[in-house]
């Protein structure tokens, strides 16, 4: 659609601009302010320049938290995206079965995040939990409060449980926009199952898949509440992801300067990645609209 040039449109955007500026720019400036100053308490601050940034960027703690975070987000994407596509392909296309599937699958998405943590905490405990008890009675040494591997396993399966439905719903939306005539034509041509997927279904899903990858990457990169409730970042620091580490630093230890520098570096990483995704997405949109 050709859009008209109209500078007065700014008046329509102004309320959003002011509201988001209030809740984004003011807090962000506070963070910037802290990141370049140090304090001995009593609200006395002095300028330290880039000291905190140098400290954070060179700290072992930040590197290992970032490493764990990247590993976690990577594993999440590798599991959830193919699984989501596969389930969406196998879902009933219409009727009450489809509605029932959609409602049941969307349910985990609307559970408060700390309750998700609580559910899995209960579910995975070796003494009272179904999963923990089953694994223990199979003779598997599973205890997410003591073994790092068990903790990772729990956190990952929890995230798969929580968020795969988002990928399924997105792919399902993409698939249901394909007219039936496409499938009939493929059938007449004798196309294989793989060819139907490769040349009909996948191109239609590409756009929503991009949104799915973007959302799943961002949200897993910012994950805080669920692993915090289940493992508290432990055992040791095994599941201390970036957000958990940051909150520990800012609220727990009240290291305002380093925490602020940490925040800015963290935000910049997320922003850079989302800018790349967004650019790729809009570029392929423009191509599709040609």
């Amino acid at each position: 659609m050709q859009k008209k040039l109209n500078q007065k449109a700014w008046f329509l955007v102004l309320p959003v601009f002011l509201l988001v500026a209030f809740s984004a720019i003011i807090p962000l400036m506070t963070v910037v302010n802290y990141s370049v100053q140090d304090s001995f308490g009593n609200n006395e601050f002095y300028w330290v320049g880039t000291e905190w940034f140098v400290e954070i960027l060179n700290s072992e703690r930040f590197h290992s938290a970032l490493g764990r975070q990247l590993l976690f987000s990577g594993i999440i994407l590798v599991i959830e995206i193919p699984l989501g596509i596969w389930i969406a392909l196998r879902m009933p296309k219409k009727g009450w079965g489809a509605s029932l599937c959609l409602v049941l699958m969307a349910l985990p998405l609307l559970i408060p995040w700390n309750v998700v943590g609580t559910i899995w905490q209960i579910f995975a405990r070796a003494d009272i939990g179904l999963l923990g008890h089953t694994l223990a009675s199979l003779g598997i040494d599973y205890n997410y409060t003591q073994s790092a591997f068990s903790a990772w396993f729990t956190v990952i399966i929890m995230d798969v449980w929580h968020w795969t439905s988002l990928v399924v719903l997105l792919c399902y939306a993409g698939l249901s926009s394909i007219p039936n005539a496409f499938y009939q034509a493929a059938k007449i041509d004798g196309a294989s199952r793989w060819a139907v997927f490769r040349y009909i279904q996948f191109p239609k899903m590409k756009r929503v898949l991009m949104i799915a990858v973007l959302l799943r990457f961002m949200d897993s990169f910012m994950i805080y509440t669920e692993p915090f409730v289940v493992t508290g970042g432990g055992p040791g620091n095994a599941t201390t992801f970036l957000s958990i580490d940051l909150v520990k630093m800012a609220i727990g230890q009240f290291d305002l300067g380093p925490a602020a520098a940490f925040s800015l570096v963290y935000f910049l990483i997320v922003l850079l990645m989302s800018w790349v995704f967004y650019t790729v997405m809009t570029a392929s949109d423009a191509e599709a609209n040609k």
């Binding site: 329509l12 719903l169 756009r207 961002m218 997320v270």
Partner: protein, 268 residues
């Protein structure tokens, strides 16, 4: 018939996987603490509603649900009111800096809440809004307004521009055109946007917990405190968890026909 069954087996297995932990939470909620810790059983031997009764009769518990509902509804209303005109502007006009503005809005959806915890606490304390429902509602607009704009823009772009022009020729002012003709046309989009605002405000805990202490404490925060204070009251904790799932389930039921399109942000 066998073919039909084979096709459906994957979604069925997946849904069983989704439901198992929820089932486990429900059985916990129906057991007494003695039964939970006493031995392992797949279903409650003597189902009891005592845990639910504890929550529904104790003000410190059920006020949590009321507080959460108030700020979630407040947030949804605020987000939609400011997002509607903005989404219209983005879907219909080009203006100075529109693309940058749109990306800047989206970038707030991608901001880690952990980054904003401390500054939000100081900001809302200094303007005297700390521990009010309004503070949480305003803080949640940080990620809900951009999302609402994004979703609504997708739906609005699906409405042909000729409608606007015809209404203008028929002598409608912009305001009455927008409220009486345009808004009803994107009603499903508004429903979907409201659903998402509700959802993300309902599930968020970190910011809501930081901005409240007593008067506006959300249910999620009430739950965390009880765990640490009274040791491990698994039964009541599970019952509280079950009750937090109910509003979500109700909302999903209402939007079930639009949910797939909604998750694709109106852009399929």
């Amino acid at each position: 018939m066998t073919l039909l069954r084979r096709i459906r087996i994957t979604p069925t297995l997946y849904i069983i996987f989704l439901m198992l932990p929820i089932y486990w939470l429900l059985t916990m909620a129906l057991k007494t603490n003695a039964e939970i810790l006493g031995g392992f059983s797949l279903w409650p031997e003597n189902p009891t509603l005592a845990n639910f009764k504890t929550i529904l009769t104790d003000a410190s518990w059920y006020n949590g649900y009321i507080n959460s509902t108030i700020y979630v509804v407040l947030n949804t209303v605020i987000s939609l009111i400011v997002a509607l005109p903005a989404a219209y502007a983005f879907s219909r006009y080009r203006f100075m800096g529109d693309k940058h503005l749109f990306f800047w809005l989206l970038s707030n959806r991608m901001a880690p809440p952990a980054v904003f915890v401390l500054p939000f606490f100081q900001l809302y304390s200094s303007i005297g809004l700390f521990d009010t429902h309004l503070a949480v509602a305003l803080a949640h607009t940080l990620f809900n307004v951009p999302l609402a704009v994004w979703i609504l823009e997708g739906f609005m772009s699906g409405v042909p521009k000729e409608i606007d022009e015809t209404a203008q020729i028929d002598g409608y002012s912009f305001g009455s055109f927008f409220l009486r003709i345009f808004t009803p046309m994107i009603a499903s989009g508004i429903g979907v946007a409201a659903f998402f605002c509700f959802m993300f405000s309902w599930v968020e805990l970190l910011i809501a917990r930081t901005l409240t202490s007593v008067d506006a404490k959300p249910i999620a925060a009430v739950m965390t405190r009880t765990v640490s204070a009274s040791g491990l009251d698994w039964g009541v904790l599970a019952a509280a968890g079950v009750l937090t799932i109910v509003p979500g389930a109700i909302v999903i039921w209402f939007v079930r026909n639009h949910i797939a399109k909604g998750f694709a942000l109106g852009r399929v």
